[in-house]
Amino acid sequence: MARPPVPRAGAAKPGQGGAKKKPAPAGAAQSQRPKAPAAGKKSGKHATLVLAVLAMLVLALFERPICLLLLLALVPTMLAWLVDDTPGQSLIRTVAPLNLASSLPFAIKLWHEHNSLDQVFDFMSGRATWIALYGAATFGWMLYYLAPAVISTVVQRRIERLRDNAIDRQQALKDEWGDDVEK
């Protein structure tokens, strides 16, 4: 959705003559702001999708087994693409590298050894393959959701420590100088 043009200061609005315009409240301006990043985010996601689909199409043309392997292996990344609504696509950027990195050994092995669909299914029949592929992706998901909590806890503790110190110091000052020190 396009942002309505913001009139320049002093510019006359139709029907208002040359009267001065009151500046828009800060809250009003802020309420419109998220729309622009949302559009950017969406276009970013679309670009990622387009790039991924193109890559997969190219891969499907020349390396069908690897393409299949990746289609199966990158399901967590695809899910991340679907649910990620963060401005910088943090979820995708967390899950995708791990997911891809864990798929890399299988893809290289496929490339160097038996580059066939049977080999792909052979990989997929092993439990270790799934653990390797989806374990890394799961770690990415966990990292995405746990990191803010960990940071929040650490920062919260630091803030509380500072606040406690400030309160203790204020109490000490009041003990020495009385209530007048507050004035």
Binding site: L104, Y144, A147, Q156, A166, I167, W177
Partner: protein, 680 residues
């Protein structure tokens, strides 16, 4: 530890029933000398320990009567043999009165008194003996006194001694123990002195001594008091109507040889009265002519008040003074008075002075009645300029106002009267009425203007108390706390206060208005600002002000130890210590106070409690503490804001961290994979 005030006043208790004055005279309580006493000062034997066998006696002054300190000082300098001269003076602990009293030690005259203090009938003296043994020595003494500008004001038979046992050389008695002229009979006083109250006659001048000498001659010639049997009012009236000479001589036969002297001495106009030089010439045998006094203006028709015909302005003033102020005011505002003054009496000077009296107005605390009394007083001064200031019940010479104030204070009288005399500027009006442009009148006017300013100033060190000490320089401090200690010098002040604190007479503030005024008069180095702090609203400032003042006294005059006073200030130190904002400073100061108190120094205590350095540090640290408190408040606000923003911030940061960790781990996996597969 207690302090013996005697040690600080330079005296100590004598052995036996007595007290020692200034390490020299032992004054014996139990050895009175009735023959040497003054009317208000009993006499006691005083033994000189430096010169055993010498004959001294001490006059113990009535504490309700201020002694003449100026006379004492001048007599000590003069050392005349013709007048009772103080050898040593000072306050002593007088056990019979259970207080300190002022003692004057003099050498005992060899001869006795001319007559008993109350004897009006005495043996008549012959003309030659009177001149040789009485008049000549007294004139010589008056010449000595006149050089010091010191009128004796106590010439009467009961106050004359003889220097020798053979009664051949008279000497004047006590003139120190009471205000000038206090015990003079009306007969011995000039008209002006007789019109004043006995204690407010003022020192006057030698002219008044010469008048008394004239009366003394008349008294000794006949052996009986002139005008004996007449009331005081009648004597004054006679003197005014007939003139002193005729009123006093009356039917008495005056020897021709002394007639000239008496006429010269008993002239009522001071400027026409004989002077000492005239008497000396007369004694040398020269014939003197009587000076012509300006004629008294008499009205052709008298002004009648209640049956009394007044022919002169002075007589009219006397009769008006006998009226109630309201009645006198009505008379003065009446048409008859104006007509009599302007047309019948016709004295231009009196008319002008009365006009001035009517046009001069001052506020009065008593309202219209007070203003009416002031008007009457001014008109009386206009009618009779040399007469004393007569206002309501008071009649005082200008130089007797100090005595009026002091005696009123000493006897617990109403101070409104002397206060209103000053407020109404009656002394200034009196000076202007004297018709002389002499510098002394102008100086007197300026002095009373200053006294009025002092009186109107209600701060400690000023007020009516300051006026009393300014006008009576020898007056001892009349503070109820220390009056009994008879403090007439600054060095006795602190010991007296210490004594009062010890006796629990003082339990709060040791400096009251009297003490402040006394210090202000006697110690010019004291800053007024220090005195003002004595009534400061802040109790701590009051305590510090008092402490600083007394510390100054201790430094300047001693004594070194004032334990009770120190303890009193120790008890009052709490509000002073509470001035410090820091609790730790207060605790530290409270803890250190005991050690300071033990040092017994008011200066050290004052410096400890009123340390400018400590106060500055406390104030600076308090400012820093306030700033720090504000910083802490801001820090708390910031922490609160951070807590509110924590979720969103942590989410952003966490996701960013997650991306980075994922990138790192992914990189590591790729590297390991490539390495393991031999691709690196």
């Amino acid at each position: 530890m207690s302090v013996q005030p005697q040690a600080n006043s330079g005296m100590s208790a004598a052995s036996g029933a007595g007290v020692r004055l200034k390490d020299r005279f032992d004054i014996q309580y139990d050895k009175p000398l009735p023959g040497l006493r003054s009317p208000s000062a009993p006499a006691f034997v005083a033994d000189d320990i430096r010169t055993p066998g010498s004959r001294h006696f001490a006059l113990i002054c009535d504490p309700k009567m201020p002694p003449r300190m100026e006379a004492i000082r001048k007599l000590q300098l003069l050392k005349s043999a013709g007048v009772l001269t103080p050898v040593e003076v000072g306050a002593v602990d007088w056990a019979p009165a259970n207080r300190r009293m002022f003692a004057i030690v003099c050498e005992q005259p060899l001869g006795d008194r001319l007559a008993g203090p109350t004897d009006n009938m005495i043996d008549p003296w012959g003309e030659e003996a009177l001149v040789a043994h009485i008049v000549a020595p007294i004139v010589q003494t008056l010449l000595d006194l006149d050089r010091e500008m010191l009128p004796h004001r106590g010439i009467r038979p009961g106050n004359i001694f003889f220097r020798d046992a053979s009664r051949r050389v008279a000497m004047l008695g006590d003139c120190m123990t009471a205000p000038p002229g206090l015990y003079q009979s009306i007969v011995y006083e000039t008209i002006e002195g007789a019109l004043a109250q006995s204690h407010t006659r003022g020192a006057g001048s030698t002219a008044q001594d010469l008048y008394a000498l004239g009366v003394l001659v008349l008294h000794l010639l006949s052996g009986k008091l002139p005008c004996a049997g007449l009331t005081e009012e009648k004597i004054v009236e006679d003197k005014i109507k007939r003139g002193s000479f005729y009123a006093l001589v009356s039917e008495q036969r005056v020897p021709t040889g002394l007639s000239e002297l008496l006429r010269g001495l008993l002239v009522d106009e001071p400027q026409a009265r004989w002077r000492l030089g005239d008497i000396q010439m007369w004694l040398d045998g020269r014939r003197m002519t009587t000076k012509q006094a300006p004629p008294t203006i008499r009205a052709q028709r008298g002004f009648e008040i209640e049956g009394e015909e007044c022919e002169t302005a002075r007589h009219l003033a006397l009769v008006l003074d006998m009226q109630q102020p309201e009645a006198a005011g009505r008379i003065l505002r009446g048409q008859n008075f104006e007509t009599w003054i302007t047309r019948t009496l016709g004295d231009k000077q009196v008319v002008e002075a009365i006009n001035t009296a009517f046009s001069t107005r001052s506020e009065s605390a008593a309202g219209a009645a007070g203003q009416s009394a002031q008007l009457v007083s001014r008109v009386l001064m206009a009618l009779d300029p040399p007469a004393p200031i007569r206002f309501r019940d008071a009649a005082t010479a200008v130089d007797g106002i100090g005595a009026l104030l002091a005696v009123t204070m000493l006897n617990g009288g109403d101070l409104m009267l002397p206060s209103e005399i000053l407020s109404a500027r009656l002394p200034q009006f009196w000076c202007l009425r004297q018709g002389s442009a002499k510098g002394e009148d102008q100086a007197t006017i300026r002095f009373f203007d200053k006294m009025l300013r002092y009186q109107d100033d209600k701060r400690p060190g000023y007020g009516i108390e300051r006026v009393a000490y300014e006008m009576m320089p020898g007056l001892h401090c009349l503070s109820p706390f220390i009056e009994g200690r008879y403090v007439d010098q600054m060095k006795d002040m602190l010991p007296a206060i210490e004594f009062a604190v010890q006796a629990k007479t003082i339990d709060v503030s040791p400096v009251d208005r009297h003490i402040a005024a006394f210090i202000a008069v006697h110690e010019s180095d004291i800053d007024d600002g220090l005195l003002y702090t004595l009534i400061h609203a802040d109790p701590a400032t009051r305590v510090i002000g008092t402490l600083q003042l007394l510390a100054f006294l201790q430094e300047t005059y001693g004594p070194p130890m004032v334990p009770s006073l120190i303890q009193l200030f120790g008890q009052q130190a709490k509000p002073v210590i509470e001035r410090f904002k820091s609790r730790y400073t207060r605790t530290r100061m409270q803890a250190g106070l005991a050690a300071i108190l033990k040092e017994n120094s008011l200066r050290k205590l004052a410096d400890y409690l009123d340390s400018a350095d400590e106060q500055r540090k406390d104030a600076q640290r308090f400012q820093r503490a306030r700033l720090e408190y504000q910083q802490m408040t801001k820090q708390l606000e910031k922490a609160e804001q951070q807590t509110q923003d924590l979720n969103s911030t942590a989410k952003l940061a966490g996701h960013s961290v997650a991306v980075k960790i994922a990138s790192l781990i992914s990189g590591a996996i790729v590297a390991v994979t490539l390495f393991a597969m031999g691709m690196l």
